[in-house]
């Protein structure tokens, strides 16, 4: 059986433009080091580097990682808003990567992958009423016209529990939760099979967040969609996702069933991430694990070195000389680390503390 979405060795680098201070500095340093003249190739920011993932029909997959790790770029690649440098995107067995992004916007496949954007306020046209925003994809993607169009808009408003009398309002006349509903209704308009949710609730108060999360979970059950759910909030990902992918500097470094990854993280980065989740449950403070060192720069990183090098609690020359690949560590759980989980060579006290704390909690 083929997965709904299969992404193979997807890669996206951004050349650093000649204008930013950072780019100029990087270029200058490269010239100094290589001794070459000013004609060297531009520096490349490795946003998404050789990433392979899959999403099954009806599955909800979480994508977590720190800001700048490439999760939004990966989402934009999958949503076909930007073009990859290399790699394949198969959707229902068809290769979507062939068509350039600007042509994809008009292809019949466009409606199958839709996105709910991070900031409901910024992603709605301020000059469109709620009805107009929801109607837009219906007109463009499935060419609905006339009465049928407005009936469908009303249906969608009902689906996301947006009172119909609000449909004539503009974004500035709506509350945060109401705008989030408009954004969701718009994404659902064309019956997508994969919904990409980029931090859908990060701008909302907890009281409203709970409503929206429940709404999304209900819609997924009702409509049988798949989710690619991007969030910093690991507590939310745990609630919403079957499987979770952890990204670090352009690479997927851990993947597995959500509960299992949170209970027994194998990669040291995931371990730090999980132990940094603030929680309202009492737990001993000394048990938290902290990352040392500075992250490796995403600009032209050493292809042999582990991206996590310099921050891990246990590392050897092998971490510097040989990039670890995603390999199975536990049942259904993969990690890209030479020393995953407990098989540490020089286990740090922090880790031991963390485990002790974790077992205390249980």
């Amino acid at each position: 059986m083929t997965a709904l979405l299969e992404v193979e060795r997807l890669t996206k680098f951004f050349p650093l433009g000649g204008h930013s201070t950072l780019a100029r500095m990087v270029q200058a340093r490269r010239r100094r080091h290589s001794g070459a003249d000013g004609t060297s190739e531009p520096a490349l920011l490795h946003a998404v580097d050789d990433v392979s993932i899959s999403v099954e029909a009806g599955e909800s997959v979480g994508l977590v990682g720190e800001s700048g790790c490439g999760k939004s770029t990966l989402a934009r690649l999958i949503a076909r808003l930007i073009d990859p440098i290399s790699g394949k995107i198969h959707f229902q067995g068809r290769d979507l990567g062939e068509l350039p992004a600007h042509r994809f916007a008009r292809s019949p496949e466009r409606r199958l992958i839709q996105q709910v954007f991070q900031d409901a306020t910024e992603s709605l046209n301020p000059r469109f009423t709620a009805a107009h925003s929801i109607a837009d994809p219906l007109q463009r993607l499935i060419h609905l016209r006339g009465a049928g169009l407005w009936t469908r808009v009303d249906e969608l408003a009902d689906l996301v529990n947006l009172p119909r009398e609000l449909l004539e309002r503009y974004p500035h006349q709506l509350s945060g939760g109401q705008k989030a509903r408009v954004g969701i209704a718009r994404a659902l308009a064309a019956n997508p099979q994969l919904l990409i949710l980029d931090e859908p609730t990060s701008a909302l108060d907890v009281s409203v967040q709970a409503v929206i999360l429940k709404l999304l979970a209900g819609l997924r059950r009702q409509l049988g969609m798949s989710f690619l759910f991007i969030s910093h909030d690991l507590n939310v990902v745990r609630l919403m996702c079957d499987r979770v992918l952890v990204m670090y500097l352009g690479k997927i470094i851990e993947a597995g069933p959500a509960g299992q990854v949170f209970e027994q993280p194998q990669h040291p980065y995931t371990q730090a991430l999980v132990s940094a989740i603030p929680t309202i449950e009492a737990r001993p403070r000394h048990g938290r694990l902290r990352l040392d060192g500075e992250p490796v720069s995403p600009i032209d990183p050493d292809p042999r070195m582990c991206r996590f090098y310099g921050r891990g609690p246990r590392q050897t020359d092998r971490c510097r000389m040989q990039m670890p690949h995603l390999t199975p560590v536990l049942e259904a759980q993969l990690a890209a680390c030479h020393f995953p989980g407990g098989s540490s060579t020089g286990g740090s006290d922090g880790l031991e503390d963390h485990r002790a704390a974790a077992s205390d909690r249980r």
Binding site: E66, S67, S207, N235, I280, R290
Partner: protein, 322 residues
């Protein structure tokens, strides 16, 4: 503990006079903070958290009127201090981390120089010293490549990086009181933990007091000793962390806890809070939560709203606490 708290806000009421009527943004807000203590103010947006912070800093909008109350800081009534003196205190004694990091920075001045400006404003220093200290501060908030980033403009940095610059600026002169208004919103959990650890360390080492304004109950639980819960301009509950989570007494606090996702819970156990904040213009009932409360009875309409002291450090503003 000390006899006199470092900061004491007592019965503070603030109104905004707008064309569409008077907005009663704060009513009889009480809070106190000792040296070295970290307390959190939590609540939904619009509950008056930021207005409280701005009142303490003396940077409220011109439309705001402080109609009652006082703000004592180290024995000094901040509401009676002349603006020039207050300007000398801001940055050195009182510092604030603002919610919108990019908006709080000067867009046309390199970030390192903006930090230097604060250092020089409060203590004359040689140029090289200022630069060295600014870079040190950038490193302290974990900005990679601090030496190069010193010369970067805000637009060249991500939101999270700008946030860290704002934090470095607030901590530059080692203030006695730090007001952190959603300091880690938009930062990932590992950076959030590093920043909060830095604040905790400063609290411990130099007895810096911190008022953490957040809507993240988890963050408040993890780093603070005491939590003040606000709703529609009222402090509805104020209690030590353990007690607040173990035994919330105000119905709103209980709802807030139940709506927060946490480790062990399931989606079904999340319960949203019904209704929204009331319109703060015009006549308001004594209890501003009454429209959303399941325990509402006619007794709740009797003025004034009681402040029940259920424990020496635990106050709840409810006629019928849980």
């Amino acid at each position: 503990m000390n006899d006199v708290p470092l900061l004491e806000v007592a019965e503070l009421s603030v109104e905004f006079r707008t064309r569409l009527g008077t907005v009663k943004a704060l009513e009889q807000v009480d809070l106190s903070l000792d040296r070295g203590e970290i307390i959190a103010v939590v609540g939904e947006s619009g509950s008056g958290k930021s207005v409280t912070a701005y009142s303490i800093m003396g940077i409220l909008d011109a439309a705001a009127h402080l109609t009652a109350g006082r703000i004592m800081f180290g024995g000094l009534d901040l509401l009676r201090v002349a603006e020039a003196e207050l300007a000398n205190m801001r940055g050195r004694e009182l510092a604030m981390i603002f919610q919108n990091p990019r908006g709080a920075l000067n867009p046309i001045r390199p970030i390192g120089r903006q930090i230097g400006d604060i250092l020089r404003r409060h203590a004359p220093m040689p140029r090289a010293g200022v630069k060295r200290r600014a870079i040190e501060l950038l490193m302290q908030v974990r900005i990679p490549d601090a030496e190069r980033r010193y010369a970067a403009y805000p637009f060249e940095l991500s939101g999270g990086m700008c946030q860290r610059v704002g934090i470095a600026m607030a901590l530059a002169c080692e203030p006695a009181l730090l007001i952190a208004d959603e300091p880690t919103t938009g930062l990932d959990v590992t950076t959030q933990a590093a920043i909060m650890d830095l604040i905790v360390e400063l609290a411990r080492k130099r007895r810096m007091a911190t008022l953490l304004i957040t809507h993240d109950l988890g963050l408040a639980a993890e780093y603070c000793e005491h939590i003040v819960v606000m709703h529609a301009g009222h402090v509805v509950e104020s209690a030590p962390v353990g007690e607040l989570f173990a035994k919330p007494r105000h119905p709103y606090t209980a709802k807030l806890i139940a709506s927060t996702p946490h480790g062990a819970g399931q989606l079904d156990s999340l319960t949203p809070i019904p209704g929204g904040l009331p319109d703060l213009r015009g006549e308001l009932p004594p209890c501003r939560y009454r429209g959303r409360c399941e325990r509402y009875t006619s007794v709740c309409d009797q003025a004034p709203l009681p402040r029940v002291q259920v424990d020496p450090r635990h106050v709840v503003a409810c006629r019928d606490p849980l």
